[in-house]
């Protein structure tokens, strides 16, 4: 049995909570993505030290769990900012100026894609299609979708993220 390093979870997730998640999906076929989603929903990311424990409980190798974790763009291995700003970079949004919007966001936030502002307020991520293509360009902030986004509106949305501490 792989031990859980209790202290590593002190600020994130208790061993009990992780066990609860694993218990919930123990008898479900093909449970790994479900487990990873559940952990990320709870913490915003999947801590490295959860990997061996998840592997042990699901009877998988660590490599398999790591392989899945690193394959999917959605899964994070480090904590994101308090808000995640996703800017669509796919063709439809490009046709409506998403490149300029992305440029504007990077300047406004002072970070590149896949980075988080130093105050921990916002992470900036690219996304390839939010299914809002008739209202391009599209942006998603946390779980909220925005369409026909102008640079000015994006400024206002970012300001709202800054205020929301």
């Amino acid at each position: 049995m792989v031990g859980i390093h209790q202290e590593c979870y002190a600020q994130t997730m208790s061993a009990v909570e992780l066990n609860d998640i694993l218990d919930e999906y123990a008898n479900v076929p093909g449970p790994l993505l479900l487990v990873l989603h559940a952990v990320q929903r709870r913490l915003g990311f999947i801590p490295q030290d959860a990997v061996p424990y998840i592997a042990e409980r699901l009877n998988l190798s660590r490599a398999e769990v790591h392989g899945v974790l690193s394959f999917y763009h959605h899964f994070r291995r480090a904590a994101p900012g308090r808000h995640v700003i996703q800017i669509c970079r796919a063709e439809s949004c490009q046709a409506m100026g998403s490149d300029q919007l992305a440029h504007h966001a990077r300047q406004r936030l002072g970070i590149e894609f896949h980075e988080t502002t130093p105050d921990g307020a916002c992470s900036l991520e690219p996304v390839y299609c939010l299914g809002n293509c008739a209202c391009s360009p599209a942006v998603m902030i946390d779980d909220e979708l925005f369409g026909r986004v102008s640079p000015e509106q994006l400024d206002a949305l970012i300001a709202a993220c800054d205020d929301d501490l």
């Binding site: 449970p31 989603h37 063709e91 390839y128 299609c129 209202c135």
Partner: protein, 514 residues
């Protein structure tokens, strides 16, 4: 009597402020002491009019849009609850030409009903298809779907009935029905709109598919980028269980069918069917070698139907109205209707469900109204990031699987992304390679490595470094990717690249603008 007002809760409508409008309408009604029933529908698919507010006057629905929260007080002042005149007034919604000229079969209820109300669904013909299916033998259901001419709407256009027959004819102790709801193509949103606007039609379609082939478990593989659809499906599935349309005794038939939504995790490749199955099994979404086909050896090694949302959601109306009814729409070997999605730089973006045979020109100009920027439309990409770029000279081409393939294009999932004359097509070709590099599952070398090399080669061409040799190299690379990849990602990425090169070569011969 209380006036009924509809404000959509479709993600696209919400993205432009529908919730704020709904809140404002409720508040304004309260302060004016007006008795008003606020209902939340899906979207009609006229996205440029969102938020589109509809008021029931007599037995007709009158529209106002696009409404912002700042317009609400003015609408009340103009007596919109009785269809009063206002600059945003659109008249009877069913008479708006964009909608009136459509042939809504699969989307007949979308935007009309409250999406997760089983009562609404049943009142509008819902579950009549299932009732018909329960009166038929399994092979009769399959035959009916085959006779309808329905082909896979996800993009591959494989005859749905033939796929079902393979699953039916493959004996196994367990079979599955899976729905591919990993709608990742840019310019497409039909699946999302349907799942949010009429989730029961998908559930009913999957239930019929399960009865037809003897499956007892279904999965909807939904992309994680669609949280609104997730909620809508979860609510509808819950209702279907409560009302006995799912579970151990489907509609009193004694047959079992369980249904579950599983979320993807942001990998475009999982829209490829074998990759989707890997992902459903909890693994990396790496493509499988075919054969064996999923219909023979699919999820957990069992015979599995893998169909797109629109294919499955079209099944109830085929059962309800008959194979001939559906087959009578369309042209050539493309039968029935298809939801075309107008996106990108287009004035009137949205969803147009029409019989096959409508031309790109009609879609882009009669429906779309030309570009949003007012500049000429220079190119459209049809069929998502793996679809060809089509120049204005070919806009007479009709929506038909064979006609599009005849000009070196593909219909894919029916998305059309318009670009005006400011587009740099060499840049779009580069993006096609870049996207392939980001999303490649890594299994096939031509896709994994070729895409990255493709970006570099296009850069060299654009910067004039050994241009002729690199143009030849790009062609060779495209051929290797097209012939040497297991699935459509590596195999079809050459479509946008080659078409851009064929129709817009000049763009490759000048240095990048940005």
């Amino acid at each position: 009597m209380s006036t009924v007002v509809y404000v959509p809760k479709d993600a696209s409508a919400l993205s432009v402020g529908a919730d704020r409008v709904a809140t404002m309408i409720a508040r304004e009604a309260q302060s004016r002491g007006i008795d008003l029933t606020l209902k939340r529908n899906g979207t009609r698919g006229m996205c440029w009019l969102e938020p589109l507010v509809e008021v029931v006057v007599g037995s007709e629905r009158h529209g106002y849009g696009p409404v912002t929260d700042r317009d609400v007080a003015g609408l009340f002042a103009a007596d919109f609850l009785r269809g009063g005149a206002h600059p945003l007034q659109l008249g009877r919604v069913d008479d708006i030409p964009y909608l009136a000229s459509q042939q809504r079969l699969t989307f007949e209820r979308v935007g009309v009903i409250e999406p997760t109300s089983l009562t609404d669904y049943l009142q509008q013909g819902g579950y009549e298809g299932l009732r018909r299916a329960l009166s038929l033998q399994q092979h009769e259901i399959v035959q009916l779907v085959t006779d309808s001419g329905l082909r896979g709407r996800g993009g591959a256009a494989f005859p749905t009935g033939i796929k079902w027959k393979t699953v039916l004819d493959t004996p196994a102790p367990q079979k599955y029905v899976t729905c591919n709801a990993d709608e990742g193509d840019s310019g497409t949103f039909a699946d999302r709109m349907l799942m949010e606007g009429d989730p029961f039609s998908l559930i009913e379609g999957m239930t019929i598919a399960a009865l037809a082939v003897g499956a007892t478990q279904g999965y909807i593989y939904l992309r994680v980028e669609y949280p609104h659809a997730e909620r809508s499906l979860a609510e509808a599935i819950q209702s279907a269980y409560s009302a006995g349309y799912l579970g151990k005794d489907v509609a009193g038939s004694g047959r079992r069918f369980d249904l579950e939504v599983r979320l993807g995790a942001g990998a475009y490749i999982c829209g490829e069917e074998t990759s989707m199955l890997e992902s459903l099994e909890g693994r990396r979404g790496e493509v499988r070698v075919r054969p064996p086909l999923p219909a023979v050896k699919g999820l957990f090694g069992r015979p599995t139907i893998v169909n797109n949302v629109i294919s499955l959601a079209s099944v109830p109306i085929i059962l309800r109205r008959g194979a001939e009814f559906y087959r009578d729409y369309g042209v050539g070997r493309s039968r029935g209707t298809v939801p075309i999605q107008l996106a990108g730089n287009i004035k009137r973006g949205g969803l147009v469900e029409r019989a096959f045979g409508v031309s790109l020109r009609e879609l882009l100009y009669d429906y779309g109204g030309g570009s949003a920027s007012g500049r000429p439309i220079r190119a459209v990409q049809v069929g998502g990031p793996l679809g060809a770029y089509i120049p204005a000279s070919q806009f007479e081409t009709v929506i038909d699987y064979e006609a599009l393939s005849g000009i070196g294009a593909l219909l894919g999932h029916g998305g059309i992304v318009a670009f005006d004359d400011t587009v740099d097509m060499a840049r779009m070709a580069r993006f096609a390679m870049e996207f392939c590099a980001i999303e490649s599952c890594g299994k096939c070398t031509p896709c994994r490595i070729g895409s990255t090399r493709g970006v570099e080669v296009i850069d060299r061409i654009r910067y004039g470094i050994d241009r002729q040799q690199n143009l030849q190299l790009l062609e060779d690379l495209c051929e290797t990717m097209a012939e040497g990849s297991l699935c459509g990602l590596g195999g079809l990425t050459p479509f946008p690249v080659r078409s851009a090169l064929r129709h817009f070569k000049d763009d490759f011969l000048k240095p990048p603008t940005r």
